[in-house]
């Protein structure tokens, strides 16, 4: 009896392991496709087939594809393929008429009237109307459901802030569909950069009645209607999405690519490997050694970011409240050597408004229009002595706070070493986790802080407005009447030329005269692209646009 019991136990165990083994075997043989995306392996450029397919790769992207929702980088890449704003700007800052064929500004600069293209259609063939633009604006302003980080950029529209904060009604928002093809914005006060704001997701259209907040409409090609050159045909969260030529795009005759697959690859090594193996045609966000490795290759492409990294002194803390001290620090840094230690994709900058920000008056970069302060170690020593700290004597140890990551650690150490060798002052480094760092920044509990800002839209005001005394993002306590006045003047200027003068004046007060912020570096992204892809255009942010791209043999 005991034997039988034991035997049955053993049999059960054997049976269990057999089941496990066979289930494995089953797994091995039935390699059913998990994503059914065979194009990634067979695709690639110049395959000779009639269909032209490009495979692009992006890292893991946050957020959603809803322009009125939590729209971040993932939306940005998608929108450049599939969505048209009212107007946009090319790399030289020239206006491109997209969903709108013209616009007018009233004499008092308070009313912007956009005339939409009647031939512009959604990918289901229905007309793109003014109401579709309002659909995004109203959903973004509904603070209950929106989740949009750009909702505050709508506040220039009269009644928008009140609607978002719940003190006014949505009907009072002065973005109005006068008729199907006329969209009017009444602004609360003049905003000379309003047309630049149109690049933000909250100003993009979304199909009324279909794009509804709180649903997954943008993940389903049936409901994710597109008005751009391409339309969504497949969406798999965190893996890839596929867009195909949109037959209803108003300029569809000039679109030559049939299909673009955007593959999500998080690991940098894998992106490079997938590019070398030919599985992807475009790889971006690569490490800087690729730049050296592919230096002479036509595969290399560089995206100069509109970004500035700076040292932010807390102007309420001694001795940083002294302009001489701030200037001494600014002049003591050797930015070229700092950038060299950070990588080939970093370069020095001497202004707060980024090097590659197009000028508000068009034609070239804002940075190049005026001269900036220059480094001078000797002068820095003199300034520190003038401030009462000859040879750094009696200078307190300051803390430099930075977010904990490789590049910022290198930057921090370089700054620390240089200030010690040039000014003989001691800097204590404090690395903080990103959220902690952000809280420190927001609460203003720092002495010196690594500060970085990447452009939301391409106008210098995006950078300069941060330091007005009433700005919510003024973290280091700058309060300068002359500065506030220059900014106010720029907002009221009659022409962009006049405004340009005020903006430069403001920047000069901010940096060259007072060093409220100490600019250090800017950077570019390194990417690889199959040279068979031609006709890539760039927008005013320097981002690639594959609208009129082609594949050559």
């Amino acid at each position: 009896m005991r034997k039988i019991k034991e035997l049955s136990k053993k049999l059960f165990a054997i049976g269990l392991s057999t089941v496990m083994l066979t289930s494995m075997a089953g797994c091995g043989s039935s390699s059913s496709s998990t994503q059914g995306n065979t194009d990634t392996s067979s695709g690639g450029a110049g395959s000779g087939s009639a269909e032209k397919v490009i495979v692009t790769a992006d890292g893991e992207l946050d957020g959603s594809l809803d322009p009125a929702g939590f729209a971040l980088q993932s939306w940005n890449g998608f929108a450049r393929l599939c969505s048209l704003p009212l107007i946009s700007y090319d790399e030289n800052g020239n206006v491109l008429y997209e969903a709108a064929e013209s616009y007018e500004i009233s004499d008092d600069q308070l009313t912007y009237t956009f005339h939409l293209r009647e031939e512009a259609k959604w990918s289901d063939g229905s007309a793109v109307t003014a109401a579709d633009f309002l659909n995004t604006i109203h959903r973004a302003l509904d603070s209950e459901t929106s989740g949009s980080v750009y909702a505050d950029q709508l506040f220039v529209i009269e009644g928008a802030q009140e609607a978002y904060e719940g003190t006014g009604s949505m009907d009072a928002v002065q973005a109005i569909a006068e008729d199907d093809y006329t969209l009017v914005f009444h602004l609360a006060k003049p905003c000379a950069y309003f047309t630049k704001l149109l690049a933000l997701p909250v100003y993009y259209p979304s199909k009324t009645g279909v794009a509804v907040s709180g649903t997954d409409w943008y993940k389903d090609p049936e409901t994710c209607l597109c008005n751009g050159p391409y339309m969504l045909t497949e969406f798999v969260q965190d893996q890839y999405y596929t867009v195909e030529k949109n037959p209803y795009y108003f300029d569809a005759d000039n679109v030559k690519i049939d299909k673009i697959i955007n593959q999500t690859i998080t690991d940098t090594q894998s992106v490079i490997a997938a590019y070398t193996s030919g599985e992807v045609d475009v790889a971006s966000g690569l490490p800087d050694y690729i730049e050296t490795q592919y230096a002479d290759s036509d595969e290399l492409y560089i995206w100069s970011m509109i970004t500035t990294t700076a040292v932010m002194p807390n102007v309420n803390v001694e001795p940083l409240d002294n302009e001489l001290v701030r200037e001494a620090i600014a002049l003591a840094l050797d930015r070229s050597s700092i950038c060299a230690s950070m990588g080939t994709n970093y370069e020095p900058t001497y202004a707060w408004v980024p090097k590659y920000m197009t000028s508000n008056k068009g034609g070239g970069y804002f940075y190049d229009e005026v001269s900036h302060f220059s480094e001078n170690a000797e002068r820095a020593k003199e300034l520190l002595a003038e401030a009462g700290y000859p040879e750094g004597e009696g200078f307190p140890t300051l803390t430099y706070t930075y977010p904990s990551n490789d590049k910022d650690a290198i930057l921090a150490q370089a700054i620390q070493a240089q200030l010690k060798s040039v000014l003989n002052i001691d800097i204590q480094l404090e690395a903080q986790e990103t959220e902690v760092y952000n809280t420190t920044k927001r609460e203003g509990t720092f002495e010196l802080l690594r500060y970085n800002w990447t452009a939301d839209f391409t106008d210098p005001i995006n950078y300069l407005a941060l330091f007005t005394s009433d700005s919510a993002l003024n973290f280091n306590g700058v309060s300068d009447e002359a500065y506030d006045e220059a900014i106010a003047n720029s907002n009221n200027a009659a022409t962009q030329e006049e405004r340009n003068t005020y903006l430069h004046e403001a920047e000069s007060i901010l940096v060259d005269e007072n060093f409220y912020i100490i600019p250090v570096s800017t950077m570019h992204y390194v990417g690889l692209r199959n040279p068979a892809i031609t006709g890539v255009t760039y927008n005013d942010k320097g981002e690639s646009n594959y609208r009129f791209a082609d594949l050559t043999e």
Binding site: T38, S41, Q237, Q239, T266, E435, V436, A472
Partner: protein, 306 residues
């Protein structure tokens, strides 16, 4: 036996509860908001936090989280709109499970064969090479092997795809990367326990009784030599099916390992917590399962009596 299983399950639940509590408070202890980015305005930040209930006191959030958890919901991702952790697991786990089971199965079979071979071979050279090989492969971390495989077979030779797409070819590299370590581990274990078993009296006895050498080697000895293997296979299985974080990231496999890496990189707290709880539960179950199988095969082991 049933009592023992119930006891172990209860212990598992208590462990999970501690896991939940500790991870919850650790993630909340950190100052700052998960929605902090350089360019966000304070008003928008406040509105986002309110939307996700992060403006409530921590204790209240904890109670809410536990209540949701009891209903089987692991929460909503902070960084991907409208995506629940349950969805992420539902999509990702089958992929991870499949890869894990395949590599586990291969490791068991190949590892056992190599282990026995090491023991029974008469050639010192063969044994030496096999031992050296298993030592090398047990010391190479999976991610190093994965990168090497990817560079050699993907980038250079271009014979196998780098990006996992579910095709048979795309399974080869990740499965190899995942299976090599357990193969080395299993072969060494089988080798040593097989050697032990060979020296037992019952082997001499069986041989003396006239049972053929092959029969003794593969039936009597192997059966006993495999016992330690069952003990380690529980944790090993758990390890394999909870996803190799790095291997999945490298081959762009849409499993839970990759999700885990991403959620840590993105500081997506609900996803980190949800996946931790899920993986914790699997490890507890797998260990229990291997103990039960062990007790069934080896009558000397009495569960709950040690």
């Amino acid at each position: 036996m049933v009592k023992y299983i119930i006891k172990r399950l209860a212990m598992g639940i208590v462990t999970l509860f501690f896991l939940v509590t500790v991870t919850f408070f650790l993630t909340r202890l950190m100052p700052g908001s998960p929605f902090e980015t350089d360019n966000i305005s304070p008003a928008i930040l406040a509105s986002l936090e309110e939307h996700y209930g992060l403006d409530k006191p921590v204790e209240e959030q904890y109670v809410l989280y536990l209540r949701e958890l009891l209903q089987g919901s692991l929460g909503i991702s902070y960084k991907k709109s409208n995506v629940s952790v349950n969805d992420l697991i539902k999509d990702g786990f089958p992929v991870t499970l499949k890869l894990g089971l395949i590599s586990f199965g291969i490791a068991l079979v190949v590892g056992t064969v190599i282990g026995v071979w090491m023991s029974v071979t008469k050639s010192e050279a063969v044994r030496g090479w096999l031992l050296a090989g298993s030592t090398v492969f047990i010391s190479i971390p999976g991610f190093v092997l994965a990168i090497v495989l990817m560079l050699v077979f993907g980038s250079e030779l271009k014979v196998l795809p780098v990006i996992f797409d579910g095709s048979f070819a795309s399974y080869i590299l990740p499965v190899t990367a995942l299976a090599v370590y357990p193969i080395a581990e299993v072969s060494r274990l089988v080798h040593s326990s097989y050697d032990d078993a060979m020296n037992q009296d019952y082997v001499t006895m069986a041989r003396a009784k006239g049972i053929s050498k092959k029969r003794v080697m593969f039936l009597h000895v192997l059966k006993n030599a495999l016992l330690p293997l069952i003990t380690v296979s529980g944790p090993m299985l758990a390890f394999q099916i909870t996803g190799s974080f790095v291997v999945e990231s490298i081959f762009t496999i849409p499993g839970i390992g990759k999700e885990f890496v991403n959620s840590v990189n993105n500081r997506d707290y609900t996803v980190i917590m949800g996946l931790t709880i899920f993986v914790g539960a699997i490890i507890i179950l797998a260990n229990l399962l291997s103990d039960i199988i062990c007790a069934m095969v080896d009558p000397r082991i009495k569960l709950g009596k040690s």
